[in-house]
């Protein structure tokens, strides 16, 4: 299944995004990762970034895609 990753800034933001996507039929899981900003919560989204990112921007969450 295709997926892409979104770095969120906090667990609160990650869980908000996960629940929002779930309510809109998009599955995602939260993974703890270490990246350019230290420890972070990454959302593994099973969907298309072109569809998901505009949805998340509506609730104030940007797709900070990891390098």
């Amino acid at each position: 299944m295709n997926f892409f990753l979104i770095n969120t800034r906090s667990m609160t933001q990650a869980e908000k995004a996960r629940l929002y996507l779930a309510r809109n039929g998009i599955k995602s899981v939260i993974i703890r990762t270490t990246g350019r900003n230290g420890c972070t919560f990454t959302l593994k989204v099973f969907g298309d970034a072109g569809t998901v990112c505009p949805m998340l921007s509506r609730i104030g969450i940007s797709c900070d895609l990891p390098r």
Binding site: T12, Q13, E15, L19, I30, G38, T40, F41
Partner: protein, 355 residues
């Protein structure tokens, strides 16, 4: 503790994530209850902690604060402590006439005023403040409006969408959460400096405290069982509805006030039986010249748990004229019954006759 025994917002293993989800669910419930976003809903140790974050977060050289004359020590003490740093404050007189109260508040505001802080309802007599009008005043005067909602949350309409910038509240009163919990909810219009810095489980590479909420104000592990339980308390209030709980408690207080007023030697300081709309359900009284702490002990021996003393609200007692004596305070809950109130009135009658 048995299901989510792990630290939320720190690790990625199953138990930590389960705890994180439970905390978020509680945060969301609290946020929705007060018209806030979950990110702008901060779990605190209690209302005092929340007020310290809000008040000291706005402190800057030369700042001025406006407070009502019935504020709890949780408000007046942090503000008063800022005098040592060159800041100042003014108390405005609250009156039974909301128009006069508004005039008094308006006159207290200066060009250097950064915030107006007031209680939703006093914890001694239940006196309510005209919050909508104060919110509008603060908006027009471009100052932050902070509400101490400890005595009103779960009963009175309190919502950020009504123009309040920051709501601070206790978890253990009208929200039916455990002691040692509280909330600070903000609309985000007024950035706050931090009271404490530390590990947040986020942006951990940086030595700077995160700018984003709630992490900015939740350094260290939060009171996880408390936060989750607070969400359950909010769910309880929503299920009963604040309006129904307020009606229930108001009826109990009106009954008690009316009965106590007929007992010779008893002084009642609350007026919820005369001006229902102006008071939250709290009744303060004294039995003759029995010191309030002694009266509270005597009532405790008879099976009634009421607090006697100054209730950490010396300003309110100074205004009432009870700074020397304090008062005995009856503060009902959703579970208090009319029969219990009747028994309390009889107990007060007994003490008044036999003192």
């Amino acid at each position: 503790m048995t299901a989510y025994g792990a630290n939320p917002g720190r690790s990625g293993h199953a138990m930590s994530m389960a705890a994180s989800r439970a905390v978020f669910a509680s945060r969301s419930a609290c946020a929705e209850f007060f018209g806030a976003e979950p990110e702008n809903t901060v779990f605190t140790l209690n209302c005092t902690h929340a007020l310290n974050i809000a008040i000291k977060g706005l402190a800057r050289p030369g700042a001025h604060f406006v407070l009502s004359d019935i504020e709890h020590n949780a408000v007046i003490r942090p503000v008063h402590s800022l005098k040592e740093r060159g800041m100042s404050y003014t108390l405005f007189e609250s009156t039974p006439d909301p128009v006069q109260t508004m005039l008094n508040a308006s006159r207290a505001i200066r060009p250097e005023t950064v915030a107006l802080i007031c209680t939703a309802a006093g914890n001694v007599t239940g006196q309510r403040m005209p919050l909508l009008e104060l919110a509008d005043l603060c908006r027009r005067r471009r100052i932050c409006f902070i509400v101490d909602a400890a005595q009103g949350a779960g009963l009175l309409p309190l919502n950020l969408k009504d123009g309040i910038n920051i709501i601070c509240t206790a978890g253990h009163k009208g929200l039916y959460g455990p002691m040692g919990t509280g909330l600070m909810l903000t609309d985000g219009k007024y950035p706050l400096k931090t009271l404490m810095e530390g590990g947040t489980g986020s942006a951990s590479e940086s030595l700077e405290q995160p700018e984003f909420l709630p992490d900015r104000f939740e350094s260290g592990t939060i009171n996880t069982p408390g936060a989750i339980a607070l969400g359950a308390g909010v769910d309880f209030v929503r299920s009963r509805t604040p309006q129904k709980i307020l009606e229930h408690e108001t009826a109990l207080c009106r009954n008690l006030c009316g009965t106590l007023r007929k007992i010779p030697g008893v002084t009642v300081y609350s007026e919820i039986d005369r001006y229902q709309e102006q008071y939250a359900p709290v009744v303060s009284f004294n039995i003759g010249d029995i010191p309030s702490a002694d009266a509270s002990l005597k009532l405790s021996d008879m099976g009634f748990c009421l607090r006697g003393g100054l209730h950490c609200a010396p300003l309110a007692h100074r205004k009432l004229g009870t700074l020397e004596t304090g008062t005995v305070r009856f503060a009902p809950s959703a579970f208090t019954t009319p029969e219990e109130v009747n028994r309390l009135a009889k107990a007060v009658n007994y003490l008044a006759r036999t003192k």
